[in-house]
């Protein structure tokens, strides 16, 4: 095993960017406030890049999300590998035409003549009292859109490895960073390389129940593990890591083994990503389950400002334990 270093998600992203830009002169960065003059991005993840690689490769933009993604698409078609930042996931809405109608579709609509090796980094997540327009989890929308991959890391090693893969990927990837996971330190191999997209990670093996999650909710699932162990429940915890395409095989194998499934995400539960996973498990493993697939997600509500409401908006480890216990019957 290679040497490990401790870093948080911010540092892992920064490390991935340095490596990717060093390895491939075609890798570019653009977004609001991302040059060093502006601090290397609001969370500092791009810090040092413009100084090292120059203002022509690391470009601070106006607040013009359509122009950002448009420029990234055009440059990508010409063989560059832009990493574009949309500061927060809610602001993908102003660039949605560029992302959905263009980036995701140009390969198909051109019959494979053009491709858009674009990585869109964006940040989201409740818990910071930023209220209704700064914290939504919209990965389900993008997963419903053919032609764009959706990647949701939960820990520093994945932040690094998955970002490297997104950048190398020949197709558009949405890379979702979350306030709940970015600041949490973890062990990362010094030589951490790309982690394949579309592959889930079994965080803990178990035999009684499969818990499926990603992003910040992974941490809450992990926090629930002790309570489950205490109750004598052997839980298998899966970090999806990629939402689209998601790792059906890993999920079905685990669900077939345990017979019980709880899916947990921060996105609103209604018509959320968990529905696809639940529907697929039910369809593929009909008759083999020991109970209904349970989904925990955000209530049908915008993200509230008030702290107690925001707390109530988020699924808690206790609720996860409860849901699992409910299944054990």
């Amino acid at each position: 095993m290679s040497e490990m270093v401790k870093m948080n998600g911010l540092q892992a992203i920064n490390a991935a960017m340095f490596e990717a830009m060093e390895a491939d002169p075609k890798v570019l960065v653009l977004g609001e406030d991302i040059a060093d003059r502006e601090g290397g991005g609001v969370t500092g993840t791009m810090r040092g890049l413009s100084t090292k690689f120059g203002d022509h490769r690391v470009c601070t933009t106006p607040i013009s999300e359509q122009a950002i993604i448009g420029a990234a698409i055009g440059v990508a078609i010409n063989g560059y590998k832009p990493v574009a930042e949309i500061m927060l996931m809610n602001f993908t809405t102003v660039a949605m035409d560029m992302i959905f109608n263009h980036a995701a579709k140009l390969r198909f609509m051109s019959g494979g003549q053009t491709s858009v090796p674009l990585t869109i980094r964006t940040l989201t997540g409740a818990g910071w009292q930023t209220a209704g327009q700064h914290a939504d989890h919209l990965e389900g929308w993008f997963a419903h859109a053919a032609g764009i991959k959706v990647v949701c890391p939960s820990n520093p090693a994945d932040y690094k490895g998955l970002l490297l893969s997104c950048i190398q990927d020949p197709d558009p990837c949405l890379f979702v960073e979350t306030g709940g996971t970015l600041f949490v330190p973890g062990e990362v191999a010094v030589d951490q390389g790309p982690i394949p997209l579309g592959k889930a990670r079994i965080v803990q093996e178990g035999t009684d129940v499969t818990i499926i999650s990603y992003s910040t909710m992974m941490l809450r699932c992990q926090a629930a593990l002790a309570g489950l162990a205490e109750a004598g429940i052997s839980a298998e915890l899966i970090d999806l890591r990629t939402i689209s395409p998601w790792d059906k095989q890993a999920v079905l194998d685990s669900a077939a083994k345990t017979g019980r499934v709880v899916i947990v995400h921060e996105a609103v539960r209604n018509f959320g990503p968990g529905a696809e996973i639940a529907a697929t498990i039910n369809e593929e493993l009909y008759g083999q389950l020991k109970g209904p697939v349970r989904r925990l997600g955000g209530p049908y509500s915008p993200v509230p400002f008030s702290k107690p409401l925001e707390d109530a908006f988020l699924v808690t480890p206790e609720q996860i334990v409860e849901a699992v216990k409910g299944l054990m019957g």
Binding site: E32, D33, R37, E38, G39, V42, T60, T61, P62, I63, S64, E65, Q66, N90, F91, V94, W128, Q129, T130, A131, G132, Q133, H134, P299, Y300, S301, P302, P304, F305, S306, K307, P308, L309, A312, F313
Partner: protein, 331 residues
């Protein structure tokens, strides 16, 4: 097209009224910053300290029923528009007595009674909605006007363009007020905006556009009066670019590394508030006593509001099922 040469000059009482609004904004901002720093308010705070003149002068020209649509950096716009401070404080503290029951918070403060119709956290999004407020004023056959407040950075987003075009085309009674503080988060004006004066963009919509010193109440009065009069007279929208500066960075805690010490110091030295106060007294428009009394009253109002807000109860979790739709979402 309109010009500012014959614009009226504010009389003494108007100037004092503008000052009253400014000091109410500043005292309130100071109280919020202190409370945030003490950890008794846990919100992200976008102080507008330094930008008081703009909404204070405009609000001195508005009626209660005139409407504004503002942004995350907008509490000064609301206070200028005479929004009561008790529900404001309860809101930023996330309490049930807040204007929005604690659901919206500082970035979405709303108080229709004071004409504060929408507060948005998305850059540029105040403008399209302000058009709709103005459209309603026109359909109502009223003389109401709508104000869209936004920043210099917002002038580069698509919504700006669509909004100004539509407003001009439909001759809407709306004033687009760009509070140009020279920065969008950490990005300097010239690194994001291709033109030297945002007001030049108005010509692309056959709309009058003016760049004014947003820290000078007399200049602001001339421009705002002209724009508001135009709007009330059915002549359509105006773009006002008001040059100013924000003293506390983008968000509280931001360390200002992206500007030089000198420019910051120069801006702070040019603080419009003490300057205007001194001028009011020097010109004989108000006595030291009157302004001191005014300030004391305002401080008492703020202390009361703070007390009220921080002691109001939090909303119950049931509120997550309310106000999604008119009907409550079943549990």
């Amino acid at each position: 097209m309109a010009d500012l040469k014959n614009a009226p000059v504010p009389d003494a009482e108007t100037l004092v009224d503008i000052y009253r609004r400014m000091i109410r904004i500043e005292r309130n901002d100071d109280a919020i910053r202190k409370t945030v720093r003490l950890g008794r308010l846990t919100m992200p705070y976008y102080s507008a300290r330094g930008q008081e003149v703009i909404p204070s002068t405009i609000s001195a020209l508005l009626n209660k029923e005139d409407q504004i649509c503002t942004i995350y950096r907008g509490i000064h716009d609301m206070v200028a528009k005479d929004m009561p401070l008790r529900p404001l404080w309860a809101e930023i503290a996330g309490r049930i007595d807040g204007t929005c029951k604690g659901k919206g918070g500082p970035m979405h403060l709303t108080h229709p009674e004071s004409g504060v119709m929408v507060t948005t956290g998305v850059v540029g999004s105040s403008m399209p909605i302000a058009n709709g407020l103005a459209w309603a004023a026109k359909l109502d056959g009223s003389k109401r006007v709508a104000i869209a407040y936004f920043g210099d950075g917002a002038s580069n987003i698509g919504a700006f363009h669509e909004s100004l075009n539509l407003a001009s085309l439909w001759k809407l009674p709306v004033i687009f007020v760009c509070q140009n503080n020279g920065f969008a988060e950490h990005t300097r004006y010239e690194n994001a905006t291709s033109v030297d004066f945002i007001s030049k963009r108005a010509a692309g919509y056959a709309m009058p556009g003016f760049t004014v010193d947003g820290n000078d109440p007399v200049a602001m009065y001339a421009a705002a009066h002209t724009a508001i009069a135009r709007a009330r007279d059915g002549e359509g929208p105006t773009l006002l670019e008001c040059k100013t500066f924000r003293f506390f960075g983008h968000v509280l805690g931001d360390d200002d590394f992206y500007m030089t010490k000198e420019e910051k110091a120069a801006a702070m030295a040019d603080d419009p508030l003490p300057k205007f106060r001194a001028k009011l007294i020097a010109d004989g428009h108000a006595t030291e006593d009157r302004l001191a009394k005014m300030q004391a009253d305002i401080e008492a109002e703020i202390a009361d509001a703070q007390e009220f807000g921080l002691n109001s109860p939090f909303p119950s979790a049931d509120e997550l099922r309310r106000d999604i739709f008119a009907e409550e979402i079943p549990a």
